[in-house]
C-alpha cells in the first residue's frame, strides 16, 4: 500500500464524521471522538504495513516522501491526535460550557472539537512528508487554519477568543513570511523541491544574498510554529487561553511537525559553508535566547498551562540545539519523549481543571493525598520534562547536549546547562504543590477510566523510554534529513 493513502484515509474519516455529526444526538458526541480515535489507531497500524516504494513515482513522489523520518513523525502526529481526542472526551464538560455558555442553552458545537484535530492531523502528516515547498505551505496552512478554529472554539470565554485572535494575527504574519520567503528561495534557485535544494544549495555561490533573504523569512515563519525566540511570544498567551486539549495538541503535534520541517528546510543551508558561517551563529543565538527566555520566563509562573507554555519554549531551544548538533535521530527521540511527557502533564491538568475548576499551580495543592497515582504520574512527567535521568526526557536532553558537545558549541552548552538547572526549579515547583502543600479539600479526586488508561500508557512510556530508549530508537532510523529519491535526483529538471 502506498503511504499517501494514510492522509487520504484520515481526511476521509474527518469528512465523514463532519457529515455524520448532523445525525448524532447531542449527548453522544463522545462517540465521534471514539470513532475518530479508533480510525486514527487503524491508520497508525497501517503505518507499519505501508510500502514507501509503492508511491506513484510521477504524480505523488516528487512532492511527497515516505522516508523513515516522515513515517516516524506521522506516527507521532497520529499518537498525539489520538490522545488529544481522548483528552477531549474527558474535557467535554468544560468544552461544552466554553462553547455554549454557562446555561448550556444551545446544544452542539462540541463535535468540531473532535473533527478538526483530524484535519490538523492529516495536515501534520503531510507536513512530515512534504518535500516540496508549495506542498509544505499547503499542509502547514491546513494545520494552522484548523488550529485557528480550535484555539478560539470556546467562544463564550474571552480568554479563548483572545488567544484565537493573537494566534490568528501572528500565525497569519508567519504565513505571509513563509510565502514571501518561499518566493525568494524560488527566485534565487528556481526550485521549490527540497530534494533539489538539498543537492543544489550546498554548492551554490551566486545569488546567495537572495537565497539567504528568502531562507531567513522561511526560518522566521517556522520559528513561529516551533516557538523560537523572538517569534515565541504568542505561545504563553495562546497556550493559556486555548482549551486544554487544544493546548496539548499545539504543544505536542504542531511543534513536532514543525521541528521536522525546520530541520529539513535548514539542512541544505547548513551544508553550504558560506551560508552556514552566518547561519550557525544566528541559530545559536536564537537557541540560547530561547533557552533563556523559556526557562527564566517559566520561573515566575503560577498558571500550570502558562508554565507548560514556557516549558515548551524552553524545549524548543533544546530542539534547535539538537538540530544544530546535526544528529536528527536524537532530535526525533527528544520529540518522542516530549510527546509522552507533555501529554501526560496535560492530561493531569485537564483532570484537575475539571474537578477543581482552575489550572493554577495552587489547584494542584495536596494532590498527592487526593490522588497519589495521579500525583505520581505528574511527578514522572515533571521529572522527565526537567530531564531527570531514567526518564525519557533525560535521554532527549542527554542526546542534545552530547550533540552540542561533540559539535563544540561551548557557549551554547554554557547557556543550556544553567537553563536546564533552572528547569529543575519550576518543574519541581509542581511537585512541591502536589506533595508539600496542604489541599483545600481532602476529597479524593476521581479520574475516569479513559484518562487512567491514557495516563498509565504515557507514564509507562516515559519511564520505559528512559530506561530502554532502544524501543523508540528502533522506530527512528538514521536517514538523511532531506530525502533525495534516486528518481528525482537523476531527472531533476534544473533550468
Amino acid at each position: 500500500m502506498s503511504p499517501h493513502y494514510l492522509e487520504i484515509f484520515v481526511i476521509g474519516l474527518a469528512l465523514t464524521l463532519l457529515m455524520a455529526d448532523a445525525f448524532f444526538p447531542a449527548r453522544e458526541k463522545r462517540v465521534i471522538a471514539w470513532i475518530g480515535a479508533s480510525g486514527l489507531a487503524i491508520v497508525f497500524g497501517l503505518l507499519f504495513v505501508v510500502d514507501p516504494a509503492a508511491l506513484p513515482p510521477d504524480t505523488i513522489a516528487p512532492y511527497y516522501s515516505a522516508d523513515p523520518h516522515a513515517l516516524f513523525f506521522k506516527g507521532l502526529a497520529l499518537i498525539a491526535t489520538i490522545f488529544v481526542l481522548l483528552l477531549g472526551c474527558d474535557f467535554m464538560p468544560v468544552l461544552r460550557r466554553g462553547i455554549n455558555g454557562a446555561d448550556n442553552d444551545r446544544k452542539g458545537g462540541v463535535a468540531e472539537s473532535f473533527i478538526l484535530p483530524l484535519f490538523a492531523c492529516a495536515g501534520m502528516m503531510w507536513m512530515a512528508s512534504a518535500t516540496d515547498l508549495i506542498f509544505l505551505f499547503l499542509s502547514l496552512e491546513l494545520v494552522t487554519i484548523s488550529f485557528y478554529v480550535l484555539v478560539a472554539s470556546m467562544r463564550r470565554q474571552v480568554g479563548s477568543l483572545e488567544a484565537g485572535v493573537k494566534y490568528l494575527l501572528l500565525g497569519a504574519l508567519s504565513t505571509g513570511m513563509l510565502v514571501y520567503g518561499i518566493t525568494w528561495v524560488f527566485g534565487a534557485t528556481g526550485m521549490t523541491k527540497m530534494s533539489q535544494l538539498a543537492v543544489a544549495v550546498p554548492g551554490m555561490t551566486d545569488n546567495i544574498a537572495a537565497l539567504t533573504f528568502g531562507s531567513m523569512l522561511v526560518l522566521a515563519a517556522l520559528a513561529f510554529k516551533v516557538g523560537l525566540f523572538p517569534f515565541h511570544s504568542w505561545i504563553p498567551d495562546v497556550y493559556q487561553g486555548a482549551p486544554t486539549p487544544v493546548t496539548a495538541f499545539l504543544a505536542v503535534a504542531s511543534k513536532a511537525a514543525a521541528v521536522l520541517v525546520l530541520a529539513r528546510f535548514l539542512d541544505p543551508f547548513l551544508n553550504n559553508p558560506e551560508i552556514a558561517a552566518k547561519l550557525i551563529p544566528v541559530l545559536g543565538v536564537i537557541s540560547g535566547a530561547t533557552l533563556l527566555f523559556g526557562n527564566l520566563g517559566a520561573l515566575g509562573q503560577y498558571n500550570f498551562k502558562r508554565l507548560m507554555a514556557y516549558s515548551s519554549i524552553a524545549h524548543a531551544g533544546f530542539l534547535l540545539l539538537g538540530i544544530l548538533g546535526r544528529d536528527f535521530t536524537l532530535v526525533s527521540f527528544y520529540l518522542g519523549a516530549y510527546v509522552c511527557m507533555t501529554l501526560a502533564a496535560f492530561f493531569a491538568i485537564s483532570i484537575v481543571r475539571r474537578s477543581v475548576g482552575r489550572d493554577d499551580l495552587s489547584a494542584f495543592n495536596g494532590l498527592a493525598r487526593r490522588n497519589p497515582a495521579l500525583a505520581f504520574t505528574l511527578v514522572v512527567s515533571a521529572a522527565s520534562l526537567a530531564g531527570v535521568p531514567l526518564t525519557a526526557g533525560f535521554i532527549g536532553k542527554f542526546g542534545v547536549l552530547m550533540g552540542a558537545v561533540n559539535a563544540g558549541y561551548w557557549p551554547l552548552v554554557a547557556v543550556a546547562v544553567p537553563a536546564a538547572a533552572v528547569g529543575f526549579y519550576y518543574y519541581f515547583k509542581i511537585v512541591r504543590h502536589m506533595f508539600w502543600e496542604k489541599p483545600d479539600d481532602l476529597e479524593p479526586l476521581p479520574v475516569g477510566r479513559l484518562s487512567t488508561t491514557a495516563l498509565a500508557l504515557l507514564t509507562a512510556g516515559t519511564l520505559v523510554l528512559g530506561f530502554y530508549p532502544r524501543l523508540l530508537e528502533r522506530a527512528i532510523q538514521d536517514a538523511p534529513i532531506v530525502p533525495i529519491p534516486a528518481a528525482t535526483a537523476n531527472t531533476a529538471d534544473t533550468p
Binding site: 521529572a383 526549579y425 530508549p469
Partner: protein, 489 residues
C-alpha cells in the same frame, strides 16, 4: 552469577514500586534489605580477588546511537561501596518509625535513594553511572520537603535539589566532553578507560574536562565553596535520608573521581591538583571552624561531613599528583569512604534517637545523656570517636592511609612539596574534629541529666541498627584488610 548483581540493583526499586502499590511498607522494605544483605554476601563470597577485571558483568544495549548499555559489573572498589550502601540502607530503613505520617513514602524514598546509589556503584556504563545517581534526587527532594525537620526544611530541599541538579548537569557536560574527547562510540567505562590508556587525550583538553569534572563531582561531594547545600539539607532531612545521602549517595562523587577522572585524565587532574589542595584545606580547616561554631547536633554533623570530605579529596589530589602507583591513596580513599559513610549514618541515627527522647538537638539544651541513657552514650561515643579518627575504629585506618599517601614518593632532598604541606595541614583537622566532637559529647552526654525530661533507655529494637553500624566500625577498624582484600592492587 551476574543475576545476583542485577537483582541487587533492581530489588530496591521493585520494592519501592511495591510499596507504592500498597504492599506492607515495613515488612517489604526490611525484607528487601535483608535479602540485599545476603546478595552482597554472595557477591563477596564469589568475588574473585585475583582478577582485576569487572566481575559479575552483564550488559544490555539500550541505545545504539550513541551506544549506551545497561551494563553492570563490579570490582573491589564497587564491592566495598555496595557493602556500605546495603549496610546503611538496612539501618536507615530500620530507623523509620512505621507509625509516622509519611512512613510509606519514607520507606519507598529510602529504597529509591539506595537503589540509585547501588545502581551507580554497580554500573559500568558512564550513562547509567550518572543516571542512577540522579534518580535519587527526586525522593530526596520530596522527603526533605515533606518529612523534613525544622522551619527551613523546604528551602533546604530546594537548595539541595537545585545545587545538585546544576552540579550534575555540569558533571554531565564534563562526562560528555570526556566521551567526545576519547572518540569512543560507546559509554562503557572499561572501554573508555582502555582508550584513555592507549591514546591519551591532549593535555589542554584534559585540563578543562578535568575542571568540569572537579566542579561537577565536587559539588556532589560538597567541595568548598560548593558545599552550601550540605549542612542545611542534612539538618532538615528526615533521618533515613540524611543517613543515606551523607553516608552513601555523597560518596558517588568521590567514587566518580576515582573511577573516571583520575584514571582517564591524569594530566588534567594533575593540573588542577594545586587548586584541589587549596580547596580541600578549606574543607578541612575552614569547615572545621564552621563546625566548631555549630549550635545544633544535626547541623554539626552536616558540617562535619563536609569537613571530612576534605580527607577524601586529599586522596584524590595525592593520586593525581603522584600517579596511579599511589595505591595508598586509592585504598585509603575507599576505606575512608566506607568508614565515613557508616560513622556519619550512625551519627545521624543517634541524633534521631536523641531528638526522639529529648525533643531537641540544640547542644546547649542537652545534658547528662550518658548517665540517663548509657547505651546511647556508648554508641554515640563510638560514632564520635570514629569520626575523630580514633584507632580501632574504621575511620582511622582510612585517614592514616590517606595521610600516608600524601607522603608517598616524598623526596626529602627536594623539601616539602605542596602536597606534603597540605597533608600536614590536613592532619590538623584531626585536632579540629576532636574539638567539636568532644565539646558536643561533653555538653550533651556528661554532666547531670535534665531531671525534667523523661529519658527512656534504648530498646533492643532501637539498638539493633545502631549496633550494626557501630559493629561495622569496630570490625573494620580492627581488621581493615577485610575490605582492602578485595581491592586489586
Amino acid at each position: 552469577m551476574p543475576i545476583v548483581l542485577i537483582l541487587l540493583v533492581f530489588l530496591p526499586l521493585a520494592a519501592a514500586a511495591l510499596i507504592g502499590l500498597r504492599a506492607p511498607a515495613r515488612a517489604t522494605s526490611l525484607g528487601t534489605a535483608i535479602v540485599m544483605v545476603f546478595l552482597v554476601a554472595a557477591l563477596n563470597h564469589y568475588f574473585d580477588r585475583e582478577s582485576p577485571s569487572m566481575q559479575f558483568a552483564s550488559s544490555l544495549t539500550v541505545m545504539e546511537n550513541p551506544g549506551i548499555a545497561l551494563a553492570f559489573g563490579i570490582d573491589g572498589m564497587s564491592l566495598v561501596m555496595l557493602l556500605l550502601s546495603v549496610l546503611v540502607l538496612f539501618a536507615a530503613l530500620w530507623m523509620i518509625d512505621p507509625l509516622a505520617d509519611n512512613a510509606r513514602l519514607q520507606y519507598a524514598g529510602s529504597l529509591l535513594i539506595a537503589g540509585g546509589a547501588i545502581g551507580a556503584f554497580a554500573s559500568t556504563d558512564l550513562f547509567f553511572f550518572f543516571a542512577f545517581h540522579e534518580l535519587a534526587l527526586i525522593p530526596t527532594f520530596l522527603l526533605i520537603g515533606m518529612c523534613g525537620r525544622g522551619s527551613n526544611a523546604r528551602s533546604a530541599a530546594w537548595r539541595i535539589t537545585l545545587y545538585l541538579g546544576l552540579g550534575s548537569l555540569i558533571l554531565l557536560v564534563g562526562l560528555l566532553a570526556l566521551h567526545h574527547a576519547l572518540g569512543q562510540p560507546g559509554f562503557s567505562i572499561t572501554e573508555l578507560h582502555a582508550r584513555a590508556m592507549a591514546d591519551p587525550i591532549a593535555p589542554e583538553t584534559q585540563s578543562w574536562i578535568a575542571l568540569l569534572l572537579i566542579i561537577g563531582f565536587g559539588s556532589l561531594v560538597s567541595l568548598v565553596p560548593l558545599h552550601s547545600w550540605a549542612a542545611p539539607a542534612y539538618a532538615a532531612a528526615p533521618t533515613p535520608v540524611a543517613m543515606l545521602h551523607a553516608g552513601v549517595l555523597k560518596k558517588f562523587g568521590l567514587y566518580g573521581l576515582l573511577r573516571v577522572a583520575v584514571p582517564m585524565l591524569p594530566e588534567g587532574m594533575r593540573e588542577w591538583a594545586g587548586l584541589l589542595l587549596v580547596l580541600l584545606l578549606l574543607n578541612i580547616i575552614y569547615m572545621g571552624l564552621v563546625t566548631i561554631a555549630c549550635k545544633r547536633l544535626d547541623t554539626m554533623f552536616g558540617c562535619s561531613s563536609v569537613m571530612h570530605m576534605g580527607y577524601l579529596f586529599l586522596a584524590v589530589a595525592a593520586l593525581s599528583l603522584t600517579g596511579p602507583d599511589n595505591t595508598l591513596a586509592y585504598r585509603g580513599a575507599i576505606l575512608l569512604m566506607f568508614a565515613h559513610g557508616v560513622s556519619i549514618a550512625l551519627l545521624f541515627a543517634l541524633a534521631d534517637r536523641i531528638e526522639s527522647r529529648t525533643g531537641t538537638l540544640e547542644i546547649a539544651r542537652l545534658s547528662g545523656l550518658g548517665r540517663a541513657m548509657p547505651s546511647l552514650g556508648f554508641l554515640f561515643g563510638i560514632a564520635a570517636f570514629a569520626s575523630i579518627g580514633l584507632p580501632g575504629l574504621a575511620n582511622f585506618a582510612g585517614e592514616l592511609l590517606v595521610f600516608l599517601s600524601g607522603f608517598h614518593g616524598f623526596r626529602p632532598s627536594e623539601g616539602l612539596q605542596p602536597l606534603q604541606w597540605a597533608t600536614i595541614l590536613a592532619v590538623w583537622g584531626v585536632v579540629i574534629s576532636a574539638v567539636y566532637m568532644l565539646r558536643a559529647y561533653r555538653t550533651a552526654f556528661m554532666g547531670d541529666p535534665d531531671a525534667s525530661r523523661r529519658h527512656d533507655v534504648l530498646t533492643t529494637e532501637e539498638k539493633l541498627p545502631l549496633a550494626a553500624l557501630a559493629g561495622a566500625l569496630v570490625v573494620v577498624g580492627f581488621f581493615p584488610n577485610l575490605l582492602l582484600q578485595y581491592l586489586p592492587f
